[in-house]
Amino acid sequence: MFGTYLRRELVNRRKQTVIISIGMALAIGLVILVNSISAGVQGAQASVLQSVYGVGTDITISQAAVAPTAGAAPGAFAFGSGSGATAGGTTTLNQSTLTTSRTETVFDATQLDTVSATSGVSAATATLSLTNMTFSGQLPSQATGTSGTTGGAGGAVGGQAGSSTTQTAPTGGPDGAGGSSFSVDNFTVLGLDPTGASVGPLSAVTLASGRLLTAADVGTDNAVLDSSYATSASLATGGTISIGGTTFTIVGTVSSSGSDSVTASDVYIPLDVAQTLSSNVGKISNIYVTASSSSGVDQLATSLKSALPTATVSTQADLASTVSGSLSTASSLVSNLGTWLSILVLAAAFLIAILFTISGVTRRTREFGTLKAVGWSNRRIVSQVAGESVVQGLIGGAIGIVVGLVGVLVVNIIAPTLSGSAAATSAATGPGGGGAGGGFGAAAKAVASTTVTLQAPVTLGIILIAVGLAVLGGLLAGAIGGWRAARLRPAEALRSVG
């Protein structure tokens, strides 16, 4: 009887069934879509972080930047009187320095041992982040053009404007008019342990040509270049590159998955060589840690913080909050607008189901009164009403799942691209950081950005949640409608005109 009556009601009161089901379907579809997109955005965030911080990196350790002292200003060129080759009033200079990146602070390499010894660490590797600055160009010689009397000598060779007037125009220099021509070339250099590539920067790259650094490269002047840097600098595998005045052999090029990740560098060289060349023996700037269990990351971060009190210890979760760009816009859009919209539509759908069920019960007052007169108990009537609502909810849920899946499919077909930037956690801009030499726009990449395609996944969990919500909505409407039906006194119900 229950089934027959239920079926007849749903079929013969089609309008009510359709309205309740459609309301529920929209809500369920939206919940699925929002959930799925939200999962997709999270996935995109994770992949941004991965390209930025390297595959398998659970925790990064750096040292908060301190204001450099004047004397230790990095990147300062020291041009002594003997520097360069002076010819014809023009001094040609070509000097390169390898210094610590301004955004990084070096710390003692022994901290790596402390990290490796901490329980819960599966792998740890240290890097030294450096910037190579090459100053090349021509300057007018010191004496040239400073007085008219001596101008003739230089002018005769270096320029056509030389004359013996007292008020001599400045001469010398590459333009012969006392001007100078020079360029400053920057590239980033990352010293890393060539033996361990399971964690850290080189774990996120793919080999483009040649080979990667291996254990045999320890102590050698071999370098691996980022392929896009190599192209822009017209360098190739087999060639050489001058780093800090030392000539390195280019043994390979790599392309990093993130276009400009923090860990991606223009040049990779063995850590020990980097330390020696930059006068940072025994120093490192970053440690990359893989935890032995993904659930133990937070616990591990806590123990690392107490083991290294001065260090900045960041987990992926900390890093996730640093992701910005359209990805973070999408993320906040999904988590704010999407969630609220789902809740709103869900509430509206529930309300529609409840109101229509109540109005249905009111309309059927005499029907329920008759059934009570026939001997139906309240329980039987309540379960009948609740059954109808739950089935309406389930129909809505089923349609909603289809609607949601179609929505997800559309998103995946459109596959919107999102760009995400992750500010390096070590990029602390200390008060002295900007003013203390270094100069020439040598700011290291503090922000790494990458582009990811949004893929919205659908999990069984999301489907189950959707079905659960549909049943919940039906039960809620059914319970309220059933309660109203049960409250009807049979005598009154029979009196009602209908």
Binding site: N12, G369, T370, A373, G375, W376, S377, N378, R380, L494
Partner: protein, 227 residues
């Protein structure tokens, strides 16, 4: 056997207190056919509700057989309605979405009768009211007389002790009225039912063994008219 003692029913309708039944004392032996007449608003339907275990009196006692209806809870009253009382209403009160057969089956659902037996008994009941051809019809597809036949089949399929009919012919034309009355009387005669019919129609009332008049909640006995 009905035994009513000092049955009073009052309603509180918009500040006014309405006494629908006023200290009614009544006894109806099993198998009697009783007609209840009276002006509109006199309390006929209210009395029928007391007899049919649909409602409890404000005060007084209503007893059906060994059950004190005025003291039972909702669940017990529902069980008594399911087993012992059949109702027929003026407006037929069929479930509009169910077929004729399914409407009859609703009466057997609370008795826990199995599906097959339920169907068989309902078909027999419909056949006994002359609707063998109409099992699958919805109420809207039936005439008034046919709908009332379905309602009678629904009331009788449980084989109740009492059949309560509230103006069963009130919505029907004269010919159909006679058919329905003949049908009810034949069941009363054949099955030993107690048949209580509320009616405005003297022609209907004349066929009863006993006639009651109710006005302002007071019941008076009318002398049986010679047939």
């Amino acid at each position: 056997m009905y035994e009513l003692k000092n049955v009073t029913k009052t309603y509180n309708a918009s500040k006014r207190k309405i006494t629908a039944l006023d200290s009614v004392n009544l006894s109806i032996p099993d198998g009697q056919m009783v007609a209840i007449q009276g002006p509109t608003g006199g309390g006929k339907s209210t009395l029928l509700q007391m007899l049919g275990a649909l409602d409890r009196p404000t005060s007084g006692e209503v007893q059906l057989g060994s059950s004190m209806l005025s003291k039972l809870g909702d669940g017990k009253l529902a069980a008594i309605r399911a087993k012992e009382v059949g109702f027929v209403f003026q407006g037929f009160n069929l479930i509009p979405t169910l077929t004729a057969l399914e409407n009859v089956e609703t009466a057997l659902a609370p008795l826990g009768v199995s599906g097959a037996e339920r169907r068989q008994r309902s078909q027999d009941a419909l056949a006994s009211v002359g609707l063998s051809e109409r099992f699958g019809h919805l109420p809207a597809e039936l005439s008034g007389g046919q709908q009332q036949r379905v309602a009678i089949a629904r009331a009788l399929v449980k084989r109740p002790d009492v059949l309560l009919a509230d103006e069963p012919t009130g919505a029907l034309d004269e010919d159909t009225r006679d058919e329905i009355m003949e049908l009810l009387e034949s069941f009363w005669r054949d099955q030993g039912l107690t048949l209580i019919i509320v009616t405005h129609d003297s022609a209907v009332a004349r066929r009863a063994e006993r006639r009651l008049h109710i006005k302002g909640g007071k019941v008076t006995e009318l002398a049986a008219q010679p047939a």
